[in-house]
């Protein structure tokens, strides 16, 4: 990474955090959700680089959320420095276990098996009355040792956290993709032979294990449609750059919000047509537009 770019990145962060203060609440909320989803998709991107698509990524999303929710309820804490590592550990534990089993699979079978596990979690949660069954329950807004910054539109800490964690995770993934390991993943896809390493790749996904953002959690997070949404986002964004899933997630959330607004009765159709349009005309995802633009800049 050239020095100036790095500087820009590091300098941009506080600016962005500051700027978030002035965002209208709905956009801040939408961004938080989009970043949380982008983070999940970032994990998905790693898998897709290795030629694997998971239709069960919702499992980790849901697991992280419930870890945070359950701890918040039983320990009555909202301290992110406690909740996040806990969610991470839970995700890591399950991912390691499942990774051992799942890493033998590929293609559709990988997708379907991961979906099956996610659906089993869904089934368990729906049966768990202490967690409110399918209604779920509310989670207190997070704090940092009791400190919870807010503006008129609601708490800001979640958005900041989402920004910082996404940033760190993206940086990490970016480095990773350029490491020998990362190239190995490309190689895996190229000749479709699984390498033991895949188990480890699954572990990377645990970076996505958190969702303090929504304030409300329910088992639907582990339902297959949620996982499908992540794959949707991955394709919208593209997999060629770490920023692509984030861009994809933000675009997806905006698209859906406006589809709801423009056509409350037929918003699914708008989503479907956009999806088909992107697959047809931008097979590398929206990020390819950015790449094209960059290429033009370079050539001129």
């Amino acid at each position: 990474m050239p020095g100036t770019k790095k500087l820009l990145l590091i300098g941009g962060m506080p600016l962005l955090l500051l700027g978030s203060w002035f965002l209208p609440g709905w956009l801040g909320f939408l961004l938080t959700i989009a970043l949380a989803k982008g983070l999940v998709v970032l994990g998905l991107l790693l898998l897709m680089r290795a030629g694997l698509v998971s239709f069960g990524q919702g499992l980790y999303y849901c697991l992280g959320a419930y870890t945070v929710g359950a701890l918040g309820q039983y320990l009555e804490t909202s301290n992110v420095l406690l909740l996040l590592p806990a969610a991470l550990t839970a995700g890591l534990g399950v991912a390691t276990l499942l990774g051992l089993l799942i890493c033998r699979y590929r293609d559709i079978f990988f997708a379907m098996l991961s979906m099956a596990f996610s659906m089993i979690l869904y089934g368990v949660l729906v049966k768990t009355m202490t967690f409110g069954s399918s209604d779920g329950f509310n989670v207190a807004p997070p704090s940092l040792f009791g400190w919870a910054p807010a503006n008129d539109n609601g708490p800001l800490l979640t958005l900041w956290l989402a920004l910082i964690i996404t940033f760190i995770a993206a940086l990490f993934v970016w480095r990773y993709l350029r490491s020998p390991m990362g190239y190995a993943a490309e190689a895996v896809r190229e000749n479709e032979i699984r390498v033991e390493y895949l188990g480890r790749s699954v572990q990377r996904i645990i970076y996505t294990k958190y969702l303090l953002a929504a304030g409300h959690i329910d088992p639907e997070m582990a339902y297959w449609t949620t996982s499908g949404e992540f794959v949707f986002i991955a394709l919208v964004g593209g997999t060629s750059h770490v920023a692509a899933p984030l861009l994809g997630a933000i675009l997806f959330e905006l698209l859906r919000t406006y589809a709801f607004e423009i056509s409350p009765y037929t918003w699914q159709m708008i989503l479907g047509i956009s999806l088909l349009g992107i697959i047809l005309f931008l097979p590398q995802g929206v990020w390819s537009l950015v790449e094209r633009y960059q290429a033009r800049l370079k050539s001129s």
Partner: protein, 298 residues
């Protein structure tokens, strides 16, 4: 004893319902390598056309027995039409893409069709129970079963037989098997793969619509119908082995019996028994029970 018979009967009836849905899905996958999410929409369209046309037919004061023909006709004509439009109008532009991309393409199609269904039929429920109740019921070991459900078993056996016969005993079926085995070689041998694709997709769509039309009399046809069955059908197909019609039959039986056993013995497990079975089968047979062997690219 009563319990065992109940479990068997329930399992088989449920399995025959699942099989008609899953057969089209697995056929399309076997030939085209498309895991068709829009299959759920075909199912829903079949159910809506069946229910609404039977409604119109009966409102005209026609005899109830004729409604079976209406159901069948609706599934055939409308299923074929929708399948043809989907394949010619959309999918053919996407051939050669990654399997996962194709899932997303059909997901997009599913989203669009969900709203098209709403625009055509609205959101209110359609129920046309006359074909379902006309046949009466019979008792087995002291338990009543609707005779319509026995017809369903018959239809699903017939579908299974026709598919087997078509694939193994007819010329075009054998050509299709060549396509299934190796698409590229098939096309170099002069087989019109494009036409095969279209025909397969239309047959698959008709089967989806047929499943919907046959289900319609026993339920209330409402929005969101298709999305619910699609994951079930996926589970069946994956258990049986993607692309194998015989596998789908076995998969349907396993799922049906497992679910019936859960309902009778331990109802709390109803929701995860299907996915549990799926995870279990895949743990021992990573490709499903009857997967078609495929060459590994090295």
């Amino acid at each position: 004893m009563k319990l065992v018979i109940a479990m068997l009967m329930d399992g088989v009836i449920y399995a025959s319902w699942l099989f008609v849905i899953a057969a089209g899905l697995t056929l399309i996958y076997g030939v085209m390598k498309i895991l068709n999410m829009a299959h759920g929409s075909f199912y829903a369209i079949g159910a809506y056309s069946g229910a609404s046309l039977v409604g119109i037919y009966l409102a005209g004061g026609n005899p109830v027995w004729g409604s079976y023909l209406v159901l069948l006709g609706a599934a055939l004509v409308i299923g074929a039409l929708v399948g043809l439009m989907a394949e010619r109008g959309l999918l053919r532009f996407m051939y050669g893409r990654d399997e996962v991309v194709m899932i997303l393409v059909t997901y997009g199609l599913l989203l669009i069709l969900e709203d098209v269904i709403k625009l055509i039929w609205g959101v209110e429920a359609y129920s046309t129970y006359q074909p379902y109740t006309l046949l009466g019921r019979s008792k087995i070991a002291g338990l009543s079963f609707a005779n319509y459900d026995f017809v369903l078993i018959g239809v699903s056996l017939l579908v299974g037989f026709l598919l087997w016969w078509g694939l193994n005993r007819t010329r075009s079926g054998k050509l299709l098997q060549v396509v299934i085995h190796d698409r590229n070689t098939a096309s170099t041998q002069g087989i019109n793969v494009t036409r095969m694709f279209t025909v397969t997709f239309v047959i698959g769509a008709v089967l989806g619509a047929l499943a919907g039309a046959l289900t319609a009399p026993g339920i209330s046809v409402m929005p969101g119908l298709g999305v619910e069955v699609i994951v079930l059908a996926f589970a069946v197909v994956v258990i049986g082995g993607l692309g194998s019609v015989g596998g789908a039959l076995v998969g349907a039986l396993i799922v049906g019996l497992a679910r019936a056993a859960a309902v009778h013995i331990y109802p709390d497990a109803e929701l995860f028994v299907i996915y549990g079975v799926m995870a279990l089968v895949l743990a021992f047979r990573p490709q499903g029970l009857f997967a078609i062997a495929s060459a590994r690219k090295i």
